[in-house]
Symmetry: C2
């Protein structure tokens, strides 16, 4: 199995950085191929703009969706975006590793999704290439995330009391492109975590990875 | 009234760019003071990292929350962040103007929130300075957003069928810091909008601004 891990944390020694290492090592030990996009380490550009396209269809008025569709047909994406697209095409499984910041993905990961999950590459709503007809159909995705606060703060208000439905927006975005979204791996209360508890989580995560 | 408008769109001629202009003009005609943070025009850095801080409390292992609290106490935020904080402190009303991309704020605006709504500046959960004790209590905020798709796609699944609850995460983030969040201004189906319909929306928005 080919696995792309996308990490969104500025500190390699962080819990998220460590989880990326745990997953990469466990996958390789199980003879899977692993690529890692460590977005902060790459200095990944988070902002979608004109520079994302080699030739604009309408330079007078920049419309992101129009230009993405045009670029998909003319191989016109900027090199950094194209490189990420090639990793996604290569991968069978996408793991997104991130802390929840202000209720969602860190901006650098949101930007990765906006720039790389381009119309015409991941989906095409104008052609009905969404959900089970999404362009990335056949691939799987898993969210591995951490939260600052304790578990009960996060899902007491969820109708099904199921932490797995904590990030419906991201899950929906992935499904929209055709991904089968696996159960997430979650660590709550990261702020208060002791070294000992962190180690326990690493063991759990390694086990989870082994079951993939 | 002092109003800060934060715009997150790469194209000045876009619907969002035009709405920013409509609001700024209407507010000034009503003798309000207006400041604008056009994030793309400013080349605003979306990614929270070590460079956001003039002196790190713990350079060995970068922890964003710890460093934000430290910077709040030592006037240690980078100049671009400090400038935005000063605008927020100055403002009575904050208007966020943005398109919904992948179900939420564009990455550049998410990054603005992560870097500028810093722990110790907008709230302090460790001191209980949240919600009605939030550090920005007394200020008001309004979301003005556009969506690509038609209205019914967006709120049919909401329990209260109320489009105003479409962006609960952002609304919650603002309330967490003490803002009173006003009813949003929304334009659905931006992709299909004719010039004529756009003009009608501008008239509606100008009227809404006049009632603030």
């Amino acid at each position: 199995m080919k696995v792309l891990i996308v990490l969104a944390h500025p500190e390699p020694k962080s819990l998220n950085g460590s989880l990326k290492d745990v997953a990469a090592q466990a996958l390789r030990e199980n003879n899977h191929e692993v690529k890692v996009s460590d977005l902060y380490d790459m200095g990944f550009k988070a902002t979608l703009d004109r520079k994302d396209f080699l030739n604009l269809q309408n330079p007078d008025r920049f419309n992101p969706i129009t230009e993405q569709l045009h670029a998909a047909q003319t191989d016109g994406f900027a090199p950094d975006i194209k490189a990420e697209m090639e990793k996604i095409e290569w991968a069978d499984l996408l793991i997104l590793q991130f802390p929840i910041w202000y209720g969602g993905m860190p901006a650098i990961l949101k930007g990765w999704m906006e720039r790389v999950f381009a119309s015409g590459f991941s989906s095409d709503m104008f052609q009905g290439k969404i959900y089970d007809k999404g362009l990335l159909k056949g691939k799987k995705a898993m969210l591995s995330f951490t939260t600052g606060g304790a578990e009960e703060n996060y899902y007491m208000d969820l109708p099904d009391k199921d932490p797995a439905s904590l990030l419906p927006v991201i899950t929906e975005n992935l499904k929209f492109s055709g991904f089968e979204v696996l159960k997430p791996f979650m660590i709550f209360g990261a702020i208060m975590l002791s070294e000992e508890d962190a180690e326990k989580h690493f063991v759990e995560y390694k086990k989870r990875i082994g079951e993939l």
